[in-house]
């Protein structure tokens, strides 16, 4: 009983710390609805495999992969334009942002959001996505170039 209680407690504590990062990363890559679903599924997977997950060096990075796999399953409806409603909701910011973001690759979009929206360091993004810091930087630079070009701004 005590072991079970401790297990639940440790997992709950982990969710508290990891859920925002994981959800934001998956939301950035796959849209708000699919990203949130993927986050929930990834955390459910984590609970089912908690003994193994909690021993990992980078459990959030692992679960990001799990969530990505969920989001990319054929039966999943991933709508990259999922950003459009949000932008419509915030027309005073930039009406073209949704389309511009949707034109990025999943990886580029995730990196841009994590870096610019959530102030992740490049190293943190690299850990999360399982790529090198250099790759993150390359994606970030190119994605921002694309966004600036599509939004018609210089900076």
């Amino acid at each position: 009983m005590l072991a079970d209680r401790l297990r639940v407690d440790s997992f709950t504590e982990f969710v508290g710390a990891a859920e925002p990062r994981l959800r934001r990363a998956l939301t950035a890559a796959y849209g708000s609805q699919a990203g949130r679903d993927a986050c929930a599924d990834a955390l459910a997977y984590a609970w089912k495999n908690w003994d193994r997950i909690q021993a990992m060096a980078n459990p959030i990075g692992y679960l990001y992969r799990v969530g990505s796999s969920v989001a990319q399953k054929p039966q999943q409806k991933v709508i990259r334009g999922d950003f459009d409603p949000v932008v419509e909701h915030l027309p005073w910011i930039e009406p073209g942002l949704g389309a511009a973001l949707a034109s990025l690759t999943d990886t580029q979009r995730a990196i841009v959001a994590l870096v610019h929206a959530w102030d992740f360091s490049l190293g943190e993004v690299a850990d999360l996505l399982g790529v090198t810091k250099s790759t993150v930087q390359t994606h970030e630079v190119r994605a921002m170039e694309t966004l600036r070009r599509k939004l018609g701004v210089n900076r």
Binding site: S32, Y45, W50, K73, H89, E94, G123, E124, R142, R155
Partner: protein, 576 residues
């Protein structure tokens, strides 16, 4: 913050605010009933198998993590094998789809001419090509899709080697038990560190990414080669280390004033945190030990933490104090492989560090070394007064793999003055010293300040207000520093004086075996020294590459892995 960045931040913050948090209840609901402990081990496929069928390499990794195990595999000469092994079936040479003759001659901007022959190879899961000690290496992907098919081939994976990236020999490589099988290999091409992850399954939606990292080297003699793999680490969870493990000093040898036997018992605890590099650094540490009163009386030390830190330039994250007994001391720790070395320095009553060497002990970490995926660990941590800039803690990162190809220092940012959100600074190894570039803002003006150290202990403020440039893009090869921009390259041989290299610019600059690689969507340039560049014609497909690819070269052989298409381009170039 720039306009696009601001816009993105606002939009995503709003998205986040509109979403409901994934609750514990929802997670449990989605997970369904799970018996926490039922003697079954969950596999990466979600199946549950008896514990005795759990991946056997996991405990082995732990067991071997503190022991350097060299697995040397000698394989025959690449040339002498008869008959020459056939290329793996999954590595089929195909004609260049854009240029059937696979020959290109292009005048490169800048005057250089590269005459190249490119061949495109269907990747077919052949894996990336790496250069290790001048030898092209390739590790098969164990699961790959056949071209034009969704069927996944379930097959053994092999290691291949070549000296020209054309003729490949399969290595008869009896991988040690610590390698997850089948495994996927990662190698960054510079640090001589390979990481095997696995088991990789045919279900590409879920992969068990437990990993083992090796130091890898190739010994090349008389046309034969030996590949040596030395396990570097286990999958140690830094957070668990910080939470659960109290490191007990088995022996605490004390020199100088304090007799060895009198400095006991001694315990140590350290908190670690992962860095942006994925390394681990010591965030704080403490040693608690008790000394006899007569010994204490002889020590010129203060006795309270407050006295220590109020009086001296000691960063409160880098050392802790020890009451009841009580020495004010600075802990200098070094994590080397599986060993944490601890030194304690006394702090005098005036708050200034004395240099009394109190003790040193090796602590064997319970679960192996602390490095997850890179061979760098913090060697020393020191608080230092950065004059007008405030105090900071300096961390010297050092390679644990014995290699000298790359070392780095990662001191923390000067938080009060750093202006960039992403770059606390860039540290490069150059000319036997480390240079730390960081953005500072003084009196409203931004600039680059540079500190230098040779040992990580003593730092000198060597330059200020360098012209702004993207220091995070500094690339170093053979002590030459380059910074690329779209239109030019900045080059320096000492890290302080910079000049532009005429006629070249590019989007990306990387270091590969042989020197620098500068490339954009139209062309690539190679240079061993950053001064003399040779343009090469890119394969036809590269012009449309906008995503991931790696380029590596040895002498006149260039290999480009195009991840999106799975093509591997192999080019051989010679000056006309």
């Amino acid at each position: 913050m720039n306009t696009v960045s601001r816009t993105i931040k606002d939009a995503y913050v709003d998205i986040d605010a509109s979403q409901s948090v994934v609750s514990i209840e929802e997670i449990f609901h989605r997970a369904g009933p799970v018996r926490p402990v039922d003697g079954m081990h969950p596999t990466s496929l979600g199946r549950r198998v008896p514990v005795d069928r759990a991946p056997r390499w996991v405990p082995v990794v732990v067991a071997l993590s503190s022991v350097v195990v060299v697995a040397a595999f000698v394989f025959a000469s690449l040339r002498a094998r008869t008959p020459e092994p056939a290329p793996p079936a999954s590595y089929t040479t195909v004609s260049n789809p854009s240029d059937p003759d696979s020959t290109d001659a292009t005048t490169i901007d800048g005057g250089a001419i590269g005459v190249g022959v490119w061949q495109a190879h269907e990747g077919l899961g052949a894996g990336q090509v790496f250069v290790l000690d001048g030898v092209f290496m390739r590790f098969d992907e164990p699961y790959a899709r056949a071209p034009g098919s969704d069927e996944v081939a379930d097959r053994d994976s092999y290691v291949w080697a070549s000296i020209d990236a054309t003729e490949w020999s399969r290595l008869d490589l009896p991988l040690p038990d610590v390698v997850p099988y089948p495994a996927k290999w990662y190698f960054d091409g510079r640090t001589q560190t390979m990481t095997a992850t696995g088991p990789v399954t045919s279900d590409t939606t879920e992969k068990d990414r437990e990993s083992v990292t090796f130091h890898a080297s190739v010994d090349r003699r008389d046309g034969a080669f030996a590949l040596a793999l030395s396990p570097l680490d286990s999958s140690l969870d830094p957070s668990k280390l910080a939470l659960d493990d109290r490191l007990v000093i088995p022996e605490f040898e004390v020199e100088g004033l304090i007799p060895v036997a009198e400095a006991s018992p001694a315990t140590a605890s350290f908190d670690f945190e992962p860095t942006a590099r994925g390394d681990l650094r010591v965030l704080s540490g403490s040693i608690v030990f008790t000394l006899p009163p007569d010994v204490l009386e002889r020590l010129p030390v203060s006795t309270t933490y407050d006295e220590c830190c109020d009086a001296g330039p000691l960063d409160d994250r880098s050392q802790r104090m020890y009451d009841h007994g009580a020495l004010v001391a600075e802990v200098v720790s070094a994590v080397l492989g599986s060993t944490l070395r601890v030194e304690v320095l006394l702090v005098g009553q005036d708050g200034q560090r004395t240099t009394i060497h109190v003790g040193e002990a090796d602590l064997h970490l319970p679960r192996g070394s602390v490095v997850q995926s890179t061979p760098f660990v913090p060697l020393t941590i020191r608080p230092v007064d950065f004059r007008d800039y405030g105090f900071a803690v300096e961390v010297l990162w050092i390679s644990t793999d014995g290699g000298t190809s790359y070392r780095a220092v990662q001191p923390p940012m000067l938080a009060r003055y750093a202006t960039s959100w992403g770059f606390p600074g860039t540290v490069v190894a150059q000319g036997g010293r480390f240079l730390w570039y960081t953005e500072v803002e003084l009196d409203g003006e931004s600039g680059i300040a540079v500190w230098s150290t040779e040992d990580g202990m003593t730092w000198s403020h060597v330059a200020d207000n360098l012209p702004w440039f993207n220091h995070s893009m500094i690339r170093v090869y053979d002590d030459v520093l380059l910074v690329p921009s779209e239109y030019l390259i900045l080059r320096s041989s000492d890290g302080l004086e910079w000049h532009t290299v005429d006629g070249h610019g590019g989007d990306d600059l990387e270091v590969s075996t042989g020197g620098f690689v500068l490339y954009d969507s139209d062309a690539a340039y190679l240079s061993p020294d950053g001064e003399v560049w040779r343009g090469i014609a890119l394969p036809p497909a590269l012009g449309r590459i906008w995503e991931d690819f790696d380029i590596r070269f040895v002498a006149d052989v260039i290999v480009i892995d195009e991840f999106d298409t799975g093509l591997t381009w192999i080019g051989r170039f010679s000056a006309p």
